[in-house]
Amino acid sequence: MDIIFNGKPRELKAGTSIQELLDQLRLDCLQVVVEHNQNIIPRQRLAETDLQDGDVLEVIHFVGGG
């Protein structure tokens, strides 16, 4: 299946959860916020939320700014 991850298409194994994807990408769930089809997913629900074909995922973190 294909999702849109941070604006770019990405191919994933069907049934991958958001937490599994973060793990694959070596992203610490404590350092990022995940928007799944424009809904913010609380950390405790990342593992139980499976991705579907066509989903749009935004993974956001803090950077320097003013």
Binding site: N6, G7, L25, R26, L27, D28, L30, Q31, V32, V33, E35, Q38, I40, P42, E58, V59, I60, H61, F62, V63, G64, G65, G66
Partner: protein, 273 residues
């Protein structure tokens, strides 16, 4: 120096410190510590998995600093609200420096979208610090909407022209019961000094905001200079001013760079650096 109080929370320092434009995270932390500031602004962007960078959260001690996320990059109220909610979901206190800048070059704030976003965010329990043009009528509307400060610009970001909006800022201060923060356009100590003394408002250059200009970026590359200038500004803080005020330094220069190199367009992702 009198205490700074915003939304009932008191701060020993009147400085807000930006986190953009430092040569390294170590330099940033050193400058933050040297400044004595307790308010640190940060931005939100998409994680770049191809070029991983540290999250700012790894470098900022939440026990020591209030993390003040901004909504830079937002072009309308909807995007700003979305960013504020993301920041809160990251576990931050619900403070937000509201920036809505549809104009990618001058980064001038959109008054209508800013007010719209402020009204929604205040209702959702956010403590809202909006970046605005020096418009006394807008400042009043925002105050009535329940924002914790207003942050009028002294001059367009990056121009280093000093407080060109002096007369309007004076009116904003006269009418405000909330803190007034001058947020952009300064490029020299003298600007801050003049602004501070005559307006009775704390004025800080958004140092990193000036970074599009070579003279200013030379300073901002040196965190010690940044800190020294902040200290100077801090020392100028108004014992004569009866109003609780604050200052801000720092704009994500990356944003300016992104815009100026043409990577910004309505079709490109607004959260990507």
């Amino acid at each position: 120096m009198d205490q700074l109080i915003i939304a009932g929370r008191s701060f020993k320092s009147r400085l807000m410190v930006g986190t953009g434009k430092f040569s390294s995270n170590q330099a940033m932390v050193a400058a933050m510590q040297g400044s004595g500031s307790e308010i640190v602004t940060v931005a939100l962007r998409r994680v770049d998995v191809d070029n991983p960078r540290d999250s700012m959260l790894e470098h900022i001690d939440p026990a020591r600093y209030l993390l003040l996320p901004n909504t830079s990059g937002a072009r309308d109220a909807e995007e700003a609200i979305r960013l504020a909610r993301i920041a809160r979901a990251a576990g931050c206190d619900p403070w937000v420096k509201l920036e809505v800048t549809p104009d990618p070059y001058y980064l001038l704030p959109d008054p209508i979208e800013t007010l719209k976003a402020a009204e929604v965010l205040v209702k959702e329990g956010f403590i809202v610090l909006p970046y605005i043009n020096a418009d006394p009528v807008l400042a009043k509307h925002l105050q009535e909407a329940g924002t914790a400060t207003v942050m009028p610009l002294g001059a367009p970001i990056g121009t280093n022209k000093g407080v060109r909006t002096r007369d309007n800022i004076a009116i904003i201060i006269e009418q405000a019961s909330i803190s007034v923060v001058v947020d952009a356009g300064l490029g020299a100590r003298a600007h801050a000094r003049r602004g501070d003394g005559q307006l009775g408002v704390d004025v800080a250059d958004a140092l990193a905001r000036s970074a599009t200009r070579p003279a200013a970026s030379a300073n901002t590359r040196n965190p010690v200079m940044v800190t020294l200038l902040m200290r100077t500004i801090s020392a100028l803080s108004s014992p004569t001013s009866s109003r609780p005020t604050t200052r801000n330094a720092g704009r994500p220069s990356e944003v300016c760079r992104m815009y100026s190199t043409g990577r910004y367009s309505p079709l490109s992702p607004w959260l990507t650096m």
